[in-house]
């Protein structure tokens, strides 16, 4: 076996020094030299304690001559796809916090490779793993037939999340109709509440809301950032409810280009015959309204961020003042990231609460809750918006 090992090392290294080949085999240097001398026609010296393989086939032949022929076998199959599937899920999850678009792109591709290998082992026909297409109805049908129903849902969620992630990093987001359809497919799934699916449902919500390019105006950026994070946070409380709330959010986000956002945190839409105002307002501002003033929610314009209300004129006045304070602060915001933008708003909320504390002693405590929630939302890792199509961002250009 010793000769075989030395010659195998020579075959791999092709040209080598004595220390190098010594590191590749279990033999001591004097014995290595002896063995190399014994195949002098195939391995020639080419310097001090240096050799070059000149007849590779002869070296291999000689190495094999001393070896019992092994029965070649495929690698032993995994005990199950569990570890690889989990690795794929973790890799996709890690992409959220990866600042480099290029690295994020490579990580998504790695996760998809692992997922394809899991699917190839699961699907009938033993397809080569790299031919498994993730976007086909056939795949969905096959996965539904999996004998373990929770695993079937898990695999389907993985496929959906991977496709969304691929769209995100390549700048080819899933078409809006297909996205809504994908969410709808999981929305009423009874097995969705299984705790093992938590991360995947979170990924689905996160990526689904990251399909659109972010708005440019700071006010609109803030509203979308908060809406996205609240949708993601709802997954921690109730998977099904989070998916039910997702559809209207996606429809609003998807319509963003056709109907640009309002650029205002408070806007009066009209006055009702009874003298009250019909308005839209950034939802968190309602926490600063003194308790004795009346207002009623009438709808969600951007779920989690913008609501429609009917309010007394005094409430409108109060909300308008607070909104203008926030807006003027945001206009001069030096912050590029959504996290910093939300943090900035949380800070202004503290000032607003102190200013209005005299009107109602519950304002401070209610605003404190909002501030804490905003800071939690700001810190939560989230997928960045979809890359711009056909553009390959360079490292460190953010």
């Amino acid at each position: 076996m010793t000769v075989e090992r030395v010659l195998a090392a020579a075959a791999v290294l092709r040209e080598f020094g004595l220390a190098e080949i010594s590191a590749f085999c279990d033999e001591q240097p004097p014995r290595i030299v002896e063995i190399l001398d014994s195949v002098a026609t195939a391995v020639k010296p080419c310097g001090a304690e240096r050799w070059r393989v000149v007849d590779l086939e002869a070296v291999r032949r000689e190495a094999r001559r001393r070896t019992v022929v092994d029965v070649l076998s495929r690698p032993s199959p995994e005990e199950g796809p569990g570890a690889r599937l989990q690795l794929a899920e973790e890799t996709l999850k890690a992409c959220r916090g990866e600042p480099s678009p290029d690295r994020r792109r490579v990580m998504v591709a790695s996760a998809m490779n692992h997922l394809r290998q899991v699917l190839a082992a699961t699907l009938p026909g033993r397809l080569p793993w790299w031919t498994v297409e993730l976007g086909t109805d056939l795949l969905v049908d096959e996965l539904r037939r999996h004998p373990d129903p929770v695993h079937a849902v898990r695999l389907q969620l993985n496929v959906a999340v991977a496709r969304l992630a691929e769209g995100n990093v390549t700048g080819n987001p899933m078409p809006a109709d297909e996205l809504i359809e994908t969410v709808a497919r999981f929305r009423d799934e009874p097995l969705l509440e299984d705790s093992r699916l938590h991360g995947l449902v979170g990924g689905l919500v996160d990526l689904a809301t990251a399909q659109e390019s972010p708005p440019v105006e700071p006010v609109d950026r803030l509203l979308v950032a908060i809406a996205r994070r609240r949708a993601r946070a709802q997954v921690d409380r109730d998977h099904g409810a989070a998916l039910h709330a997702l559809e209207p959010l996606l429809r609003t986000l998807g319509a963003g280009h056709a109907h640009p956002y309002i650029h205002d945190l408070f806007q009066t839409l009209g006055r009702l015959p009874d003298g009250r105002d019909h308005a839209i307002v950034y939802a968190d501002l309602l926490k600063v309204v003194p308790a004795q003033l009346q207002w009623f929610p009438t709808g969600d314009l951007l779920p989690g961020a913008l609501v429609e209300v009917v309010a007394e004129p005094a409430v409108s006045l109060h909300l308008r003042q607070c909104a203008r304070t926030l807006e003027s602060d945001l206009v001069h915001s030096p912050f590029g990231s959504d996290t910093a933008l939300i943090g900035q708003v949380a800070h202004v909320f503290q000032e607003l609460a102190e200013e209005h504390a005299g009107l109602d002693d519950t304002v401070v405590s209610r605003t404190d809750e909002t501030r804490s929630e905003l800071l939690r939302l700001a810190k939560a890792p989230i997928w960045p918006p979809a890359a711009v199509p056909d553009r390959h961002p360079q490292e460190g250009r953010r």
């Binding site: 290294l13 190098e20 279990d26 495929r74 570890a83 490579v106 591709a109 790695s110 793993w129």
Partner: protein, 369 residues
Amino acid sequence: MPAISPYPGLEPWMWRSLLARAAVFHATRTRLSQFCDHIDKGGAVELVLRHLELQAREWATCDVDDDTAVTRVVEAWVAQLTETLGLRQLDPTARQLIEDMRDLLHCVHSHDPFRRIFTGITAHASALYGDSWRTPTLGVAHIRRHPRGDSTRSDPYVVTAMTPWPPDIAEAVVELYIHHDDLYIHHDDFGPAAFAALPILLTHECVCHVPARQDRASNESTFAEGLLDWVAYVFHEQWAGKLDVELAPAARRHAEVLRTVLSRRTDTAEGRARRIGHEAAETLRSWFEVSCGHGPHESKLAVAQLGVQLNQVDRSLADKDHFVSLLGWPLPPALEEVLYGWDEGRAPASAVLDLVVDRELVGHAGRTA
């Protein structure tokens, strides 16, 4: 003379206590495997190990030099072994083991056992990496919890190692950590199994991390902690006998047991990365056998050589992990093509990464072939 620790991370008494036991384990290294087997069974052999720990602790804080402390610990332990041999109810194999160990204790010395192992490994690893090698410095320190949070009974490997990132351009530090339980004063569970596992731990650091050229370190990397760990095992197998032929059987055996302990931990991201990386390496090895027709040993070394070369390519760890993600059986045709090129000497290892992260091929390495 009070103890002086050569390692800033180890308090003097801790150093002295470890030194005394490591000196005993080194002297009895040809019997370490049997020693571990008997400790697992309990009884007299476990008791003599506890006595060794007691003596090491006793002499750790004494006002004598290292040589004297080690000599006194050994004398006390020899006396304990002799007393144990006087027991009438002693299992014959345990009796034989204790007699053998007592005989071996005639040649104990107090050289730094950690540095001795480390120096041997770095000599081989530097030959693998040539100009890419960074000169490493060894540090030894203690940690307050078991590396895997387990009990010493189920996992006696109370040691772990790491190479802080980023290293210097030409130098690196390898930190060896030994678990020390704060509940008991001057006590740790550094036993013969942990001593025998030191070579594979340090080989892993020297093969996988010291010379690595990449943007970051991650315990969850399928390349750095998985495929390259497999490569480290290949080299450990080659080097064990050359490092210390008498320690080699125990070192090889405990390297394998540690591999099993670590690989079965698929409940952690680190364990999963290790397992997937090892599977990827085995897949690649089979590919060299089946597709290139190489012998089993050459195929194993080819994977090791490719791993070593990829480790020197200055590219992101994400790129290297992506390469591992492509190593599912059968290999995609586009990857096969570039691997043939590498095997035939037509393409450098960097070409493997160039191909797999090429924008047109990301995630579709098979379809473009």
